[in-house]
């Protein structure tokens, strides 16, 4: 299958660059030093007798997850926002179009290659996160849930970056637009809540209103999971169904990822409409023969 051929080529090219090694080193060092700084500061003024290690562990974990999420959100587009237009800049795009590679293989191969780099970063940080088990109060299920949020968020942001790379001819343009949109997506609900006066935010009636605004924000979902925002309901009501905000976020993000993927399929090769019509004619011919 042409998908695996493209994926192999992409992995070869990416892993031969020094960039990925440096990104991993900086990423793990940043998270590690942040955790070390927090721990050293919170324990410096306390005696070991009667110290609440549990609370320290919880705060450390929340800090690490939020920072990791922000890092993932801002690193993911860089791996995919130039995936297609770099081929144009290298002038290899025409050669891909002249081959028998399908739009699906092209988009899926590029997306998975870019995503694998992000997943590598998430995997590299797992040992750091496992340190919080020493402080207690965390279940493996909780960490697993957060890992799923990381992975789904990375997939959504990466697929959006890929869509930008199919829409814009220049890598710099697509990367800039991807970052601006991702930044807006991240801060827009908070800006809205701060700019528009919402009466009695902590009131039970307004809980659902707040959640509707914030449910598609990964930082909110991670905080809800950790109980940082107790005044926002953890249950999302959609068409009369009560689902957890975590599940709502996962479903929304999967839907967005699928949408970005399908749009990328449309735009990755030129003459989308003509290609669809040709496929339809070929399908009808095959049916008649069959």
């Amino acid at each position: 299958m042409t998908f695996f051929v493209l994926l192999t080529k992409e992995m070869r090219l990416r892993m031969r660059q020094e960039r990925i090694v440096w990104v991993m080193i900086v990423y793990v060092l940043l998270l590690g030093s942040l955790g070390w700084l927090y721990l050293s500061r919170s324990t410096s003024n306390s005696s070991s007798v009667g110290y609440d290690w549990n609370a320290t562990g919880t705060t450390l974990y929340q800090l690490l997850t939020l920072v990791q999420m922000v890092l993932i959100i801002f690193i993911s587009p860089s791996f995919t926002s130039g995936a297609i237009n770099t081929e144009k800049e290298l002038r290899t795009y025409d050669m891909l179009l002249c081959s028998q590679i399908s739009a699906f293989s092209l988009v899926a191969g590029k997306l998975i290659a870019g995503l694998s780099n992000v997943l590598l970063l998430i995997a590299a940080a797992i040992p750091l996160f496992s340190l919080v088990f020493f402080f207690g109060s965390f279940t493996p299920l909780r960490i697993l849930q957060d890992l799923v949020v990381f992975a789904i968020t990375a997939a959504m942001v990466a697929s959006f970056g890929l869509l930008c790379s199919t829409l814009f001819a220049k890598r710099s343009t697509s990367t800039a637009i991807a970052y601006v949109v991702v930044l807006l997506w991240l801060i827009a609900p908070f800006l809205y809540l701060n700019l528009v006066p919402v009466p009695i935010v902590r009131d039970q009636v307004n809980q659902q209103y707040n959640l509707n605004l914030l449910v598609w924000n990964p930082l909110v979902i991670l905080s809800l999971n950790g109980g940082v925002l107790p005044y926002v309901s953890a249950t999302y009501v959609f068409a009369g169904m009560h689902i957890s905000s975590w599940l709502a976020y996962i479903l929304l993000s999967l839907g967005a990822t699928l949408l970005f993927f399908l749009l990328s399929l449309c735009f990755v090769k030129p003459h989308a409409l003509i290609r669809i019509r040709a496929s339809f004619i070929a399908y009808r011919k095959n049916r008649k023969r069959g």
Binding site: K9, Q100, A278
Partner: protein, 316 residues
């Protein structure tokens, strides 16, 4: 029998008419040279043939398949080499070819054999495990040619394959094209170096401003313009130059007259042998002191044919 039929194809890029009602038939097994100045529409034509762009009007048939409607057929049967390298610098030559073999759906077990054969054909066997970025320009060009051949296409489209190559690399490329001719491939090639095309091609088409000026086998094209000859006349005295020019301009079979040096005249002549004799007789009867009177063919070489034809089109 024609393998490619181009019928009334037009292509416009915003305000630029790249091709205008262009029609051409390319016989199977020929090496067809596309000649034209920059902006004549050669690359547009080649990209249409490779199913990379779709014409605004007209049709291109590859055997019984309309190119724009059956791009998958074209992708199987046509190998396209654009006028730029398009390589992944961090892959080795073998990995580069393996990638393209893979995306042309060639079975994994066949790939190694094909890659070895192609590297041998383009004389890059010793560079098999070298990174592409370490290759010279000529080697990269040969690697790109190998890439275009990886799926054993019936038709090979080469856009300016010799551009930027040193003389040695050009000779090697020419030999390679000759080898492919012998294998029986139909080759469509464009180049600015016309004497090379004349050596390689069995047929040529001359384009200008998106239109076909003349096409056919090389001999026919040259013959078509051989009716136009240039007269090279040298006088004994410079004083009679103006008289001679004035006299020549009044002769209907002479289209243009230019001064060549102090006593020389160049005149474009379009008549037969009797008309040529009358020109000489007239000059002598008017007492013009002629030292030499030399009619010569204008299109003995493809380069001159091209210059002659495109110059005529410009005047129209």
């Amino acid at each position: 029998m024609s393998i490619i039929k181009i019928q009334h194809v037009s292509k416009r890029y915003r305000s630029v008419q790249a091709l205008n009602d262009f029609s051409l038939e390319i016989p199977r097994g020929t090496t067809y040279g596309l000649i034209g100045p920059n902006g004549a529409g050669k690359t547009t034509l080649m990209r249409i043939l490779a199913a990379l762009i779709i014409p605004n009007s007209g049709q291109v048939w590859f055997e019984n398949h309309e190119v724009s409607r059956t791009p998958t057929v074209i992708q199987r049967k046509v190998g396209y080499m654009p006028d730029f390298f398009g390589v992944y610098p961090d892959l080795t030559c073998a990995e580069y070819l393996e990638f393209y073999a893979g995306i042309h759906s060639i079975a994994r077990h066949k790939r190694i054999g094909i890659i070895n054969d192609l590297l041998e054909l383009v004389d890059l066997s010793t560079k098999r495990d070298d990174l592409v970025e370490a290759l010279s320009r000529g080697m990269k060009q040969r690697l790109c040619l190998a890439r275009a051949l990886v799926h054993d296409p019936e038709v090979l489209i080469l856009d300016e394959p010799a551009s930027g190559l040193d003389p040695r690399a050009r000779v090697e490329l020419r030999e390679l094209v000759h080898t492919l001719q012998c294998i029986g491939k139909t080759i469509i090639i464009s180049s600015h170096i016309l004497f090379e095309l004349a050596e390689m091609c069995t047929h040529v088409a001359i384009l200008q401003d998106g239109q076909l000026i003349v096409a056919g086998d090389v001999e026919t094209v040259i013959h078509q313009v051989q009716g136009k000859r240039q007269l090279e006349i040298h006088l004994l005295e410079q004083e009679r130059l103006d008289d001679a020019i004035a006299m020549l301009k009044n002769i209907p079979t002479i289209s243009s007259v230019t001064v060549d040096g102090k006593t020389g005249i160049l005149a474009d002549f379009t008549g037969d042998e009797q008309a040529l004799h009358r020109v000489l007789a007239d000059l002598i009867s008017h007492g013009i002191p002629i030292v030499s009177f030399a009619p010569r063919t204008a299109g003995g070489r493809l380069e001159e044919v091209f210059m002659s034809i495109t110059e005529g089109s410009n005047q129209q």
